[in-house]
Assembly symmetry: D2
Homo-oligomer: 360 residues x 4
Amino acid sequence: MKSVIGKNLTISLYGESHGKSIGVVIDGLPAGICIDTTFMQSQLDKRKPKGKISTQRKEEDDFIITSGVFNEHTTGTPIHIMIENKAHRSSDYHPELPRPSHADYVAHVKYRGYEDYRGGGHFSGRITAPIVAAGSIALDILKRKGILIGTHIKKCQHIEDREFLDFEDDIILCNNKYFSVLDENKEQEMIKHIENVGANHDSVGGILESCILNMPIGIGEPYFHSLESKLSSYLFSIGAVKGIEFGLGFDFVNHLGSEVNDELEIIDGNIQTKTNHNGGINGGISNGMPILIKSVIKPTPSIFKSQNTVNLETMENTTLTLTGRHDPAIFHRARVVIDSMIALCILDLCIEKYGEDFCL
Amino acid sequence: MKSVIGKNLTISLYGESHGKSIGVVIDGLPAGICIDTTFMQSQLDKRKPKGKISTQRKEEDDFIITSGVFNEHTTGTPIHIMIENKAHRSSDYHPELPRPSHADYVAHVKYRGYEDYRGGGHFSGRITAPIVAAGSIALDILKRKGILIGTHIKKCQHIEDREFLDFEDDIILCNNKYFSVLDENKEQEMIKHIENVGANHDSVGGILESCILNMPIGIGEPYFHSLESKLSSYLFSIGAVKGIEFGLGFDFVNHLGSEVNDELEIIDGNIQTKTNHNGGINGGISNGMPILIKSVIKPTPSIFKSQNTVNLETMENTTLTLTGRHDPAIFHRARVVIDSMIALCILDLCIEKYGEDFCL
Amino acid sequence: MKSVIGKNLTISLYGESHGKSIGVVIDGLPAGICIDTTFMQSQLDKRKPKGKISTQRKEEDDFIITSGVFNEHTTGTPIHIMIENKAHRSSDYHPELPRPSHADYVAHVKYRGYEDYRGGGHFSGRITAPIVAAGSIALDILKRKGILIGTHIKKCQHIEDREFLDFEDDIILCNNKYFSVLDENKEQEMIKHIENVGANHDSVGGILESCILNMPIGIGEPYFHSLESKLSSYLFSIGAVKGIEFGLGFDFVNHLGSEVNDELEIIDGNIQTKTNHNGGINGGISNGMPILIKSVIKPTPSIFKSQNTVNLETMENTTLTLTGRHDPAIFHRARVVIDSMIALCILDLCIEKYGEDFCL
Amino acid sequence: MKSVIGKNLTISLYGESHGKSIGVVIDGLPAGICIDTTFMQSQLDKRKPKGKISTQRKEEDDFIITSGVFNEHTTGTPIHIMIENKAHRSSDYHPELPRPSHADYVAHVKYRGYEDYRGGGHFSGRITAPIVAAGSIALDILKRKGILIGTHIKKCQHIEDREFLDFEDDIILCNNKYFSVLDENKEQEMIKHIENVGANHDSVGGILESCILNMPIGIGEPYFHSLESKLSSYLFSIGAVKGIEFGLGFDFVNHLGSEVNDELEIIDGNIQTKTNHNGGINGGISNGMPILIKSVIKPTPSIFKSQNTVNLETMENTTLTLTGRHDPAIFHRARVVIDSMIALCILDLCIEKYGEDFCL
């Protein structure tokens, strides 16, 4: 169960950066769901590097669905989506020199030297492409059920995007953008900042804020399978994520209970909370308000400055200066992976509660 | 699998605040482990209310081990630990008036009016007592393997504790305290603050910082079962936790890659990182450095001020003023639940990797 | 996950023959299900020894539901059912002399001498009582959905009961009997045979045939989670079961394909098979016909004849003659455990497919 | 979790008979295991049709390992093995006419008409090829640990093979044969019988007997995860299996306890049983004796005689006469699937108990 997640909707992931192919097996979807391969490709495109703010590696994410889809609809049996690796250079990797803050060193110890070190191997960000492909199916199903998911770049170092205002409009706005910032001025400011950081051979991180709109009330369980537990276990699957918070999150510490309790009220006959400091979740269970999640993406560890490291063969201290193609920032590309993981999580929980026909 | 967590070390939780008993079934421990019931009781005592900063409800946490332990050692078959409920008053609950920011309303919808509403029912913080009992066994096993776990109160509103300095000493210091603050002056300041907040009928939250020391390298998996995924899914099981971060966490956004990459170096023949901004985890896998986790505990939702809520029977807006026994702060009591959940998580992963004999 | 089974309806089992209590935690049932404790007790009574064909140990199976049930209905949170142990004699057990064909020797090796050997410890048939309590809830829910489950004693050595004729009537007949044989003459013959075997200090086994009637079409998955896989994994949980077959089972080997293929036909507008040699399952999936399962229960290993064994302390060959209270046959008592395990399995699969509201 | 099995060693299966590819993802194997692709191919060859006793469809099982293996050794991350489909004819399938005793009808209902019906789709026996590929790795690892697995054809209708005599020699003998019968005369007799049955447009089944030799003592758990539960859930994954028994199995009913109890004795300082009626398992746990399992494989449902069926479009009774390429018997080809599933099961349990380094 190391590369498998989900109980009623399960995905199983495989692949390495420089192997023959990467892919995912999806099971748990009922038969008869129309698969929108155009949407799948458009989601994959959001993960692709583009412009000066990304690596210049040209990744062809041409996916092939080899099973589980027949006449454009799910058959009810496992779906296998595969992406062949083509663009990799069989280049100059130095497995004996682990890159700081990458998984190189832990992989070397854990896998005792047998790891596929080429291009980061299984740890390559590229392996998230099949997650995006799988996620696009989940997003599409949820959308048809009225559940919308969107993520914007809340912060890039000191530059901060505005808050979600009209949730539905803003989610649509997010989902139509490659660089998902709500405020256009901030968008340009962030892009410029990333370019500058990149030109300076450095990298920068960001905070992504996600919203799940129109979540049914009652999803999530007390304690071990709280909605926060479930969502965080999906989101921390993404390598660069180092923190997750719901609603006010860490800011709760700055307030008294009387300031941040979400009082209840009836509006138009519906019970809702006057504020949403808890981000749509009480006691681990959705309360019907928008679910608000922030994820921090650390600065890309690949920078072009000289860094200290060790030589695993000679066991001596040394330095390393990376060359090649790297991203000065990845949070804008991680955005669609976040959306995908959220969708896969939420759909799993909905199928658990409502049964597989929920998807239809 | 709603009240069950863990793959190779599994716990199954049950109980309500005012039911006959609460308890936990533990399975996956090999035979022959000496059970230290004195330590178990001392851990339960850390969760008990004490002093003016806690509820005045006197909770007797007298546990009974009804199976799985014979002649003070584990038998290798499931352990059942039970705590009988005695102290509850069959008091004046108003299930029709959901308390703001509690689970009352979501429970009412999810369980369609059949929930045991007395004292919060299954959502009561009291249900974490069996977790602490189970966790004490895991903590004890890990300690014998040299893996130490400790948590201090990093922040209570504006008051901030010092950082971990000597990890081993500080963990021992934490574990010997009821109110776990490293700096004694800050400890007094925080307690005084909580008392003031409580006197003002309000409540306050905090940030807990945990350390796992001497973690073996190589625990955790890429992607879905990253160490962050695993730990966060355990920690978000605790109702009041609304954010989790590892290492620098959300502070990563304020720094460039060159500032926060953890460079590698050889010291005394061992490879380690010069800094520990990643909190002991790279690519989802432990790197041998101390694992550093921060969890935010929101202010206790039970406050004695008048609050807006709705009447579920009449479907009208109304107000509610709580009476009875409540905590102005719970983060100091949540601390031992955090330690317990971390220990149960880490032991599960170690058994998975090394087999059940790891525990011996 | 060693003492836990079920994905959407989960049971967690604990206890030893001579410990303080035995019990089960059930999770996954939605709120609002009326719990029929009278039926629960009547099912537990079917498992109790009775008459000369059983042990003379008087077992009080007075269960207590300590959580998860409020005002006689499920609350939606975990249910804990406990049975206190009272009747055990703190008698003359010889842990150094493993009883042939019991689990004594394997337990001794697996648990390295720490096992609770008193009365068979965790391996005691008594531990199946909580399974029966849990199963009674599942049987009751399924019955309300029209799905009936019943088991008769197909064979006791050479004595064979008649086949199921009218399935519904025969299932009701089974469920109303303590010694569940359809043909009354055969019933008397079997009881007499067991008494004779017991008087001769020996024991005897049997074949139980179970039927699941009105099974919805489409339950079960191809390959790993076939209905046969699921049902067999539940049924082989019962210690004495050494074989399981569906439909013709092993008798398939004696026939050509043309003799045993189940041809399809339309009767009254419904598609069904003309014969039911496949026992209601094709390709791992229910086909709507009655599901027919045979389980063989081996002769009780506890016999009063002198048997060869080894002394684990002196490591010498020796003999052992059991004394005390033992059953010459247990298959008639195992019957209700079989029904319970089948019901827990089928309900889990139905909840998976249809969602938790299936139970309502 | 519908196409996924295993806890610590997990396989995830996908594919349809006439899709682009079939395959399996394997996770849980540690890094550094040498993959013997020659053995993998030789195992796949045992599943291929050969001679007059099989279908004339020529299946090319040219597997590709696209990830998880680097420099001929496992990398520790997921392994993906894929087999492209080439040989299928896009022939004359009649989805409206379900073949008796096949999964056609249940698939049609379960998947509401969206199933890939070509060549049986996901239900095709061809999908077991990736299982054999995965199983070859498990078999190889177990063999290096001294654990041998082999299966012979115990019975083909009235023709019965001899018993296992010298277990080690006989397992080697089995594993070197395509048509795995221990007694050469019986082998010829069975082949001739199958040819006759085939010539008569009919089909025939068989009983396979498997042995696991040198099983460590203590594998398996009481109750829900008994060794019988685990093995049977793996074996019933194979579509044609309709019964499983351990040791004497159903024959237990014909004997008294005194005749079939396995008495213990010390031979050369080792404790073992004098007989092995329980097939190496007591109380769900391996006792060190050879584990003996019988599986019945029903006659192939594809026969060339006219059969009654229904027309799903017109909802009328009709008849069907199959044409094309079919096997008069498949049990000899199922043999290697049985061995593979047993190996995957046993290795999973060994990794659970001993940790992942067991594989090295």
